[in-house]
């Protein structure tokens, strides 16, 4: 069951690579949040109940509901156009994300470590790299933020792979989530909206040598 959920997460990456509208991105974030909720429940069987509840609460409230809702709010408030505006055609994106996934599978098959659950490793790495890819190839600042949140989802999957032995690390990951999201979204994106009516990365290109 865990494997099915993780593969669904990997498939959502392919879908996001060809998504055109910002709302599709948000729906995928919600979808990934629910998947992570399920994976957490199925994987972390050996940690204390309170800690498990805390982690699951974070995935469902924070990842699946609060952050997408807040991004939605920002999009509406700042009147951001609905197009994602990629630099590359969707077809190329699809190929590249597929390539990322395939190469992480090849990479993981070269690892001979019995302690490692390879599905987790493959899905986590391909999510992280897809997030980086999205940041590099999308024009709007808001899509950069979405790319960053996808990276965090990938990191969360990776932390679940060691979660039973070291629940502290999963908690740290949650801290990272909340810290970065609050810092990036809450404080600064609101400010960017105040100062810039059309938050496009092109407006933030003045600092150079």
């Amino acid at each position: 069951m865990t494997d099915i959920l993780l593969i669904a997460l990997a498939m959502s990456l392919l879908y996001i690579s060809i998504a055109n509208r910002l709302y599709t991105y948000l729906n995928i974030l919600v979808f990934q949040g629910f998947i992570l909720f399920g994976v957490t429940y199925l994987t972390l069987t050996k940690i204390s109940t309170i800690n498990l509840m805390l982690i699951m609460l974070e995935t469902i409230v924070f990842k699946a509901l609060a952050v997408p809702w807040f991004i939605n709010h920002i999009i509406k408030r700042n009147g951001i156009t609905r197009e994602a505006e990629p630099y590359l055609p969707n077809f190329v994106s699809l190929i590249i994300v597929t390539f990322i996934t395939v190469s992480t599978i090849i990479l993981s098959s070269s690892i001979k470590d019995p302690n490692l659950d390879k599905t987790f490793f493959v899905v986590a790495l391909s999510t992280i790299f897809t997030g980086l890819y999205l940041i590099v190839t999308r024009k709007k600042i808001i899509t950069h933020v979405i790319g960053y949140i996808i990276i965090e989802n990938g990191v969360f999957v990776l932390s679940l792979a060691v979660g039973n032995e070291m629940p502290m690390l999963v908690n740290l990951g949650i801290m990272l989530d909340i810290f970065a999201s609050v810092l990036i979204l809450g404080v600064f994106f609101n400010r960017i909206g105040d100062l810039l009516k059309d938050p496009d990365i092109d407006h933030l290109r003045n600092l150079k040598d």
């Binding site: 470590d113 950069h144 990191v155 502290m168 740290l172 801290m175 990272l176």
Partner: protein, 476 residues
């Protein structure tokens, strides 16, 4: 004591944040400075004693903690001068945010220096990002916003990288059958760790911390940050924050140096260091913004430090000496830049000139600071750079040595060209009636810092040498 320091720093930071009264502000900053001094002396007397389970002041931590204390006090004083005298649009609120964030940044860096656990280090590095971003955004305009946005975004990604590295370390621990992630346990069990995961962990942690220490690939955010932050904050960003990054890289490298991966790690670090020096050279030979030039000079010095560290032998000693002296010298340049800005109201090299005419004491200091920062004798950095070159020679990295020497010559040329333009060439247009009188006392602390760097390099006290030698033992 760490508990007291943490609680005290937190209380003072909050107090500064909510207080609007000037005298209370002074008092709180004075208390904080005193707390810093007491804290560093206490940690020196309790070296290698574990406190509160996660904190262990080792030699390198204590050494850089002293540097932090020495630098922080003049920076706080100049911060007050910055807010008070020459900035008309400062409000009690902006002062409160500025000093609250500054105290948080200094304390977080101090805790990183003496933390003995990688997860604790990571948490406090997050706090440095948070407080640094408040400092960078001090002027609340579009440019500052751009700087802070880039800084926050890149630091968020870098911190995620470090987190991934920590996860990989935990995977490598599984083989050894331990679950204690303190640095002590990592040193002790270094040879039992799974080398594959350790390699990946080092790559990710090193890449992540390059954002803090200022190396290729993630140095970019730091440059914009130091450019847009007020100069006293820039002084902190280019000294103690870089040290915080260095200490963590040093400790992780120390773990690898006990394994067969040391050679591989050296290669990775040499590549990053060489690229950093190269990037610094490229920008410094054509740069027109004085503050950014200082920021790139820091990149160059960090490249040299990492080069010394990876050359091994005497290079490790030289690297630690170099970073200590750099901590004293670079804030001098940034603090002095404030006075330059008061005279010309511009950062561009095209608008400045003839500084000797307008501010003699400051101009002499600028000249001395330039000599110090480019490591010409009698600069303290000359000793450490010389030792780094010696270690490169002894490690048979002749080609690397030649390349670095060539690049450094170009850096001195670029740096010197701009500084001499600032000092001697008359500016094109300047309204001399608007230039404020700048008291020589404003430069006193900078002279003291430069003097200290020369003294420590040419006549090092026994305590200082012993601390560095102890710190070197971590690696070899």
């Amino acid at each position: 004591m760490i508990g007291i320091f943490l609680a005290g720093a937190f209380a003072i930071s909050l107090g500064l944040f909510f207080n609007r009264n000037k005298l209370v502000n002074y008092a709180l900053l004075f208390v904080f400075s005193a707390l810093l001094v007491v804290f560093s002396i206490y940690e020196y007397n309790h070296i290698n004693v574990i406190e509160l389970e996660f904190f262990k002041p080792d030699s390198i931590g204590v050494l850089l903690l002293f540097a932090l204390t020495i630098v922080s006090i003049p920076v706080i004083i100049h911060g007050e001068r910055y807010i008070e005298t020459h900035n008309v649009d400062e409000t009690p609120k902006s002062r409160a945010v500025f000093f609250g964030a500054m105290v948080a940044l200094i304390s977080a860096c101090a805790i990183v220096l003496i933390s003995g656990h990688i997860a604790v280090t990571w948490i406090f590095i997050e706090i440095t990002t948070l407080s640094a971003s408040a400092l960078i955004y001090h002027h609340r305009n579009l440019r500052a916003l751009e700087g802070v946005w880039k800084y926050v975004f890149i630091c968020a990604i870098s911190i995620t990288f470090v987190y991934i590295g920590i996860l990989f370390i935990s995977l490598s621990l599984k083989d050894a059958g331990i679950d204690d992630m303190s640095f002590d346990s990592l040193y002790a069990n270094a040879d039992k760790l799974n080398p594959f995961w350790l390699k990946l962990a080092f790559l990710f942690i090193f890449t992540g911390f390059t954002a803090k220490i200022g190396l290729v690939p993630m140095y970019t955010a730091g440059i914009d940050a130091k450019d847009k932050a007020p100069a006293p904050a820039g002084a902190l960003l280019s000294s103690i924050l870089m040290n915080a990054g260095f200490v963590t890289i040093y400790r992780i490298y120390a773990v690898l140096s006990h394994t067969s991966l040391q050679h591989w790690a050296n290669t990775v670090m040499i590549i990053a260091a060489l690229l950093s020096i190269f990037v610094a050279t490229v920008y410094m030979t054509r740069i027109k913004n004085i503050k950014r030039m200082f920021a790139y000079s820091s990149i160059e010095h960090m490249g040299l430090v990492i080069l010394g560290l990876s050359a091994g032998g005497i290079g490790v000693y030289a690297a630690i000496l170099h970073i200590f002296l750099h901590t004293l010298i670079k804030p001098t340049l940034f603090l002095q830049f404030n006075q330059v800005y008061w005279v010309y109201r511009s950062k561009s090299i095209y608008d400045v000139g003839n500084y000797f005419k307008y501010n003699k004491v400051g101009a002499i200091l600028m000249l001395l600071a330039f000599i110090s920062a480019t490591a010409m004798p009698p600069s303290g950095l000359f000793i450490s750079e010389f030792l780094i070159f010696q270690s490169l020679f002894e490690a048979h990295f002749i080609v690397i040595l030649l390349v670095v020497l060539l690049l450094l010559t170009m850096i001195i040329w670029g740096f010197g060209k701009n500084i001499f333009k600032l000092l001697f060439t008359p500016p094109l247009t300047i309204d001399e009636t608007k230039i404020p009188h700048i008291s020589g006392w404003e430069s006193l602390s900078q002279y003291a810092l430069l003097g200290l760097s020369v003294y420590l390099a040419y006549n090092p006290p026994v305590v200082f040498v012993t601390l560095i030698q102890d710190a070197v033992k971590l690696v070899q």
